[in-house]
Symmetry: C2
């Protein structure tokens, strides 16, 4: 049997504790599957005395400063579970790679913002930089794209990448409650953070999407190229209207290659009822890939939590223990493309538009005239309820058109004095 | 750049031609992802002059006998696409491994019947034996279980592994037609073979299940341990009743570890409407794994066809080109368990039972008395329609019980003179 692989774990929160528990509980199984022992030799955390529900391995080296793990001669693999795109996490990962250690991380922000330079460092040092846990929780989707589907060009890659948003949208549909009410319940239940903006404003989804897009398209990670819109503006009424039109609203991250470059966007989508992605409820995540040979593949599973995340972290460690080491983004980083970002203004698609208008004669004529003027054609309209002189909802579904035209239409519509609330625009994805 | 990886392809049917087309069309992409060229240097097929819609590479060596590929000094990897558990396919794979060549195969029958000894050969020769295309078409599920979920013990692994059966069951539900009618349509459309028994009698599913079970449980492949029942006895009426009870009938292959060993079974199942597996329609395949850390993961995609299968075959070749070589069943074959097979008689579960009985007084009393005698308790009964003196359907759903008891009950029920057709028994899976 080969010598043990020595692990240094930085961060002993929920996930870090999960990793320790898994390593202890499945020790025999992992030894068999790796052909060697996985041994935790060093750890680092802010609080040395906290009860984590798991004993630290005997003789483990405790580092008060996580960055010391990078220097330890007793560590082969640094497991970074601190989080955050800068500060200690970034310093640790950089110095660990430079010191010739493998790195496993669950840190999507770090990868999204510094993935390319970190990959170059890893390759220079001939070490692994693995991040299965950064996207899709326990679903082995990084491996699927990097290896299992390596024969494919991807027509598109998209998914439900944030469990908190999917939980909120599912709950809004189930209960009819509005966003704020459900968010606050989710916070009470621990499904949403006290400061929820990272999740509900789409940032977390964008981090994950930029990683998937880089892998799928052989391009440098480019978080700045992602168009981002969260779910705060999705109303209870939109959820109901979606259903009437045969859709369900999901926050998706989508990437595809267009004639103008790589399009990356995060926003609420109307997805057709019955499509695999529309059926994914609660905190579950799902990634759909459309490959030119494999066709449509769907990968679903728990998107977060100690168990699934630990499963993904250990899968990376198992790869390293088995000497299965690839360039972090599959192709060597010197060969990754500096891809053009396809501007959102050029996006083509159908749109759902909900306006709140004064119930007055001639309103509809005004709205439809503006749309006609900008060459946006209407597929269907729902106007319902009467409230003379007050605001009533009007919903329009357009045929496929260009985002730029819709932006012009929206600006014009906002300017109408009969339009009394900010219009809600939700893109329709015929996924 | 490393030297090209030289491929010898045995079998140029639909899949073989698909592999040639993919290799040609995605040449640049594959070179980038592998860091070397993939070059077809030799091929073998029965008919040299057939038009396959793709030109053979120039200077390719043509072997009239596929087994000559194993001897060729121009071949590093033999790609076996002939099929069949014996004969040329088996001889080729064995001799190729013995000659120190890597082998990639889509041959589930070969793996199911000879997987263990082939794995031992591959390991002895320090070569790869890869078979991603053998299960789940283009879905990279072998890799997911072997690597992506390597940190998990699997509570269960199950799936829709045969597109033909799933197509037939979906079509029966959509049209209300009976099995024979739909089968014959499927044959006309090319979705079912002229001799459909391999598919509809569950053999193909059993081959694939035994491979998944071996991988998931670290045990020798044991096709003989699989309980197998096909879909011929599923009636149009059962499909309707299933819906009434909140189920949809799917042919599943299921494996799990029980106190009595590893249970492997293939049979039609009542799956709860709304569960991921119940929503998989048509020729799509799906595999669900339940890991003790990752939780439930779902993998879905096209289960067959030239494109998806070629995608899976090339994924294996890419692994070899990248030197990503593992023992075929993850753990070295010397460490695989000779697992006990959990006998089907000990299976625990709920049952759907459809009887055709004479519409006479006292029939129901007779049936329920037999069930009570064998300790099988009834959850619900549907008796509907009246046809004095003629056969009417009675459907019973049991509470969880043991298969052995149900076998006794069925024997007794068949003996009743008022039971005028063979009872239909379908197991309920609360997946």
């Amino acid at each position: 049997m080969r010598e043990p692989l020595r692990l240094g774990i930085a961060g002993l929160g929920t996930v870090g504790a999960g990793v320790l528990i898994l390593l202890e509980e499945q020790q025999e199984l992992l030894r068999q599957r790796c052909g060697r022992d996985l041994r935790v030799t060093a750890v680092s955390s802010r609080n040395r005395n906290k009860n984590r529900g798991v004993a630290l391995p005997s003789n483990v080296i405790w580092c008060d400063d996580a960055r010391d793990l990078a220097k330890s001669s007793e560590v082969d693999v640094v497991i970074e579970l601190i989080g955050g795109a800068e500060g200690v996490a970034r310093q640790l990962v950089e110095s660990a790679l430079d010191a010739g250690k493998h790195v496993v991380t669950a840190n999507k922000a770090l990868l999204a913002l510094h993935g390319s330079q970190l990959a170059a460092r890893a390759e220079k040092a001939d070490r692994a930089l693995c991040y299965e846990a950064a996207v899709g929780g326990g679903i082995p989707v990084i491996k699927a794209i990097r290896e299992g589907l390596a024969a494919n060009r991807f027509e598109r890659v998209y998914g439900i990448l944030n469990g908190t948003c999917n939980y909120i949208l599912t709950k809004m549909e189930d209960t009819g409650a509005d966003f704020e009410t459900v968010l606050s319940e989710a916070q009470d239940l621990g499904y949403a953070e006290a400061d929820p903006s990272f999740d509900v404003d789409g940032i977390d989804t964008a981090h994950k999407l930029s990683i998937l897009a880089s892998l799928a398209y052989g391009a440098h990670v480019d978080m700045s190229a992602v168009y981002i819109e969260g779910i705060r503006h999705v109303g209870a009424m939109d959820i109901q209207f979606a259903r009437e039109f045969g859709y369900r609203i999901k926050l998706l991250g989508l990437a595809r290659r267009t004639a103008h470059g790589i399009e990356q966007r995060v926003h609420p989508c109307m997805t057709p009822l019955g499509s695999p992605i529309s059926e994914v409820g609660g905190v579950t995540n799902a990634v759909v890939t459309v490959g030119n040979y494999a066709g449509q593949s769907v990968f679903e599973g728990p998107g977060a939590g100690a168990g699934p995340t630990a499963s993904a972290v250990i899968a990376d460690i198992v790869d390293i223990a088995r000497n299965q080491i690839l360039p972090p983004f599959a192709a060597p980083s010197s060969q990754l493309e500096h891809a053009r970002a396809s501007p959102m203004e050029l996006h083509q698609g159908a749109y759902y538009l909900r306006l709140t208008v004064l119930d007055q004669p001639g309103v509809m004529a005004g709205i439809t005239a503006i749309m006609a003027e900008h060459g946006v054609s209407i597929d269907s309209i729902i106007q319902r309820g009467r409230a003379p002189g007050a605001g009533v909802p009007v919903v329009l579904i357009t045929h496929d058109t260009e985002e730029a035209r819709m932006n012009q239409v929206l600006t014009r519509l906002k300017g109408l004095k009969q339009v009394v609330e900010t219009p809600v625009r939700i893109r329709i994805e015929k996924v």
